[in-house]
């Protein structure tokens, strides 16, 4: 398996690509394998696009429902910011079959989002805004009896984008622990992924409805065009702390992917079928790369490199011994985007070898707590093993702590400041684990080698968090990011892309160094296509 020091670097994390272990694809494979059905049980949207709808998903064991509210949002009020107060559409995922009573109950709170509350009967809370560019075009064309322009659809990729998908107990929703023993919820974020998949179906229904409201001669959206559309998402700093606040969980995601890679590297000979699958996926990845538009100059340069690198890799043979190990070895000379793209592609023919790693990506163990019996000497070795030379950086140099993470009083939104520019030290969040590890390492010199770290924690409660992190990192190879998250010039989007790639996101489109647009489920089957369509490789059209 690849070393943590290689894999847990921000630049490589920022070049992550979705794989067959992504949470979206785990969900769609399960839907098909288990024969999930989706039925729209309520449609009460008026000609102005205001009202509600209910979609009920039935699995072999239970049902889940999306309750969707459509609103008449003045364009001037449309905002993707966490601090927005109104949206084009708001949603809740209900644990069971949603009734009219559920809809009435939720109609008061769901449209308020963070200003309201949901109950333990709700698993997720979300909201979405229209792509103004595309929405009017599509409604207009469909109303005129024609299809929208395929190039325009491809350019944007979505009709609506979510700006948050809340689960795991937020705003009163059910804790994950309340449902994580259900097989269909075992893998991470399945409730959230189901919510977004259902939102995509609602959006298609809504845009067709609005076209019919405009003209009785309106036509439905061509199924191929509809399938190419995903749900967009704007992701900002709100997601960044997750990568640092859940080290054991992040380890499980990365370890699953790296284990999958190791299994495929160990394949001695590739069958013709496997080689064909790889070639087809690579060709699709090259087409995706051609169409991948980014304004961010750093990523634009990387994508240009990706196109060239994948073109080169397309000419490499896969018929030798240990073909995938050889290919990945050779890929080490390519750019990071291509390395990570090829790491994803070699997994594609081998669902039988690697898909079983999916459900284990969740973290179900009891919360970690400090082992006070570990000796100072062992702790010193553990910290050194994880951070090494970074411990001896000049942490008094302002460049090393140029950034400061804090939470704003406005909707508790995480933000990133330049430490020198704003007096925010009093509110600094503990999101600099490398700095904290360096402080711990220095402090350990003041304790006897054989002393238990319980004594360090007693004398220096401020070091407790770093002590625990070091123990978690010692037992979980991929738990820690091996870069300084406080350094000037650090790009928070590297953290965001790492997590979003595990969701299964594509079309990464950074708009600054701290927020990006992505697309979810582009190419995925709709409910009426799940049974017979491609529920696995849809991300490679």
């Amino acid at each position: 398996m690849r070393a943590p020091g290689t894999v847990m670097r921000l630049d490589r994390m920022g070049a992550s690509h979705q794989t067959r272990l992504s949470f979206m694809r785990q969900l769609t494979r399960r839907m098909q394998a288990e024969g999930w059905t989706t039925e729209r049980t309520a449609w009460a949207v008026d000609g102005a696009g205001v009202g509600h709808a209910v979609y009920v998903v039935r699995t072999p064991r239970r049902a889940y429902s999306l309750v969707a509210f459509a609103h008449d949002l003045p364009p001037a009020s449309r905002s993707d910011r966490v601090i927005a107060e109104a949206w084009d559409a708001t949603f809740a995922l209900v644990d069971g079959v949603a009734t009219a009573r559920d809809v009435a109950r939720l109609s008061g709170d769901v449209p308020k989002q963070e200003a309201g509350r949901v109950t333990a009967r709700e698993l997720c809370l979300s909201r979405a805004n229209r792509s103004a560019r595309l929405w009017d075009h599509v409604v207009g064309r469909l109303a005129a009896g024609a299809q929208p322009d395929a190039d325009r659809l491809a350019e944007v990729g979505y009709l609506m984008r979510t700006t948050a998908v809340y689960g795991s107990g937020k705003f009163g929703a059910a804790d994950r622990a309340a449902y994580d023993d259900r097989p269909e919820m075992a893998a991470p974020f399945q409730a959230e992924m189901l919510t977004v998949w259902l939102i995509r179906t609602f959006v298609r229904d809504l845009v067709e409805h609005m076209a019919r409201a405009r003209s009785p001669g309106a036509v439905p959206l061509d199924p191929d065009l509809a399938r190419g559309l995903g749900i967009g998402n704007s992701t900002g700093l709100g997601m960044a702390p997750f990568l640092m606040n859940h080290p054991r969980l992040i380890h499980r995601w990365i370890a699953a992917r790296e284990t999958a890679l190791a299994r495929v590297r160990a394949v001695e000979r590739a069958t013709p079928e496997a080689r064909d699958v790889f070639a087809a996926r690579l060709a699709s990845a090259r087409r995706n790369a051609e169409g991948w538009r980014v304004a961010d100059p750093v990523l634009a340069a990387a994508v240009a490199g990706l196109r060239a690198d994948l073109a080169a890799a397309a000419g490499w043979g896969t018929d030798g011994p240990f073909p995938w190990a050889a290919l990945l070895e050779r890929a080490g000379a390519l750019g990071l985007e291509a390395q990570e793209a090829l790491a994803a592609l070699v997994l594609e023919p081998y669902g039988d070898l690697v898909d079983d790693l999916g459900p284990g990506m969740a973290d179900v163990a009891a919360p970690a707590r400090l082992d006070g019996t570990m000796t100072v000497a062992a702790m010193r070795a553990a910290v050194e093993a994880v951070h090494g030379a970074a411990l001896r950086a000049d942490w008094s140099d302002p460049a090393e702590t140029a950034r400061l993470w804090y939470v704003s009083a406005e909707k508790a939104e995480p933000r990133l400041a330049e430490r020198a520019d704003e007096p925010l030290e009093a509110w600094e969040q503990p999101l600099g684990p490398q700095r904290d590890a360096a402080a711990l390492r220095a402090a350990l010199d003041g304790f006897a080698d054989c002393a238990p770290v319980a004594e360090v924690a007693l004398a220096r409660p401020d070091l407790r968090a770093a002590l625990l992190r070091a123990q978690v990192a010692a037992a979980h190879a991929y738990a820690e990011i091996r870069d300084n998250t406080l350094a000037g010039g650090m790009r928070p989007i590297d953290l965001l892309r790492a997590k979003l790639s595990f969701f299964g996101a594509t079309r990464f489109d950074p708009r600054s160094d701290r927020w990006l647009r992505i697309c979810l489920y582009a190419g995925a089957p709709y409910p009426d296509e799940i049974a017979a369509g491609d529920a696995d490789a849809w991300v490679y059209p």
Binding site: D80, I83, A132, D175, A178, G372, A426, L458, R514
Partner: protein
């Protein structure tokens, strides 16, 4: 009072304990402990609110000693108890322990670390835990002499999926102290800029 998820309670307690001036590691442990209690149907919020707004108390000076002198802060004493559990005898006398209820999650940690069932008694109350199950009879006290001993049993409290925190608002006020006031400068560039053409 409003029903809350366990995750909301845990997040609030972490921020409240930090807002009250403790370090982040202690805040995280207090939050984990609060969730542990709430998941067993015990509301820790009134005790926490009282602790965090009350006079400061201390930590044990000799964690291996059979008796600890107070006034003892239950978070500091609890963390020392849990950290040192495998390194000391299980019997412990805690004099002047503030809010003994808040020691219980750390008694559970000590029980799990040593494989013992442990009983904590104070001012007419008794609690026992094997690390997972909790039995509890009696109420919290502002301050009491408490005794920890191996053994004990009692009917285990049933699991609770939700929290019913009576002192939510008091903790929320402390948690708000961890939030920086928004300024126009800080609002810029934090997240998605709004493009009307989008």
């Amino acid at each position: 009072m409003t029903d809350r998820s366990l995750g909301e309670l845990q997040a609030l307690v972490r921020a409240a304990v930090r807002g009250a001036g403790r370090d982040w590691g202690t805040a995280a442990e207090a939050a984990r402990g609060a969730r542990w209690l709430a998941a067993r149907g015990v509301d820790p919020t009134p005790s926490l609110a009282a602790l965090l707004s009350g006079p400061p108390a201390g930590r044990p000076t000799d964690p291996r000693a059979p008796a600890w002198d107070g006034p003892l802060d239950p978070l500091r004493a609890g963390l020392a108890l849990a950290d040192f559990a495998p390194l000391r005898a299980p019997r412990l006398s805690l004099r002047g322990l503030r809010h003994p209820l808040l020691l219980l999650p750390f008694v559970a940690d000590a029980a799990a670390a040593t494989g013992l069932t442990l009983t904590l008694t104070w001012a007419g109350a008794t609690a026992a835990t094997d690390g997972d199950a909790l039995s509890l009879a009696g109420d919290d006290a502002d301050e009491a002499d408490a005794a920890l001993a191996p053994g004990g049993c009692g009917p285990a409290r049933p699991a609770a999926a939700r929290a019913r925190p009576a002192a939510w608002d008091a903790l929320a006020a402390l948690a708000a102290l961890t939030h920086a006031p928004a300024t126009a400068a800080s609002r810029r560039g934090a997240g998605a800029d709004d493009d009307p053409l989008e």
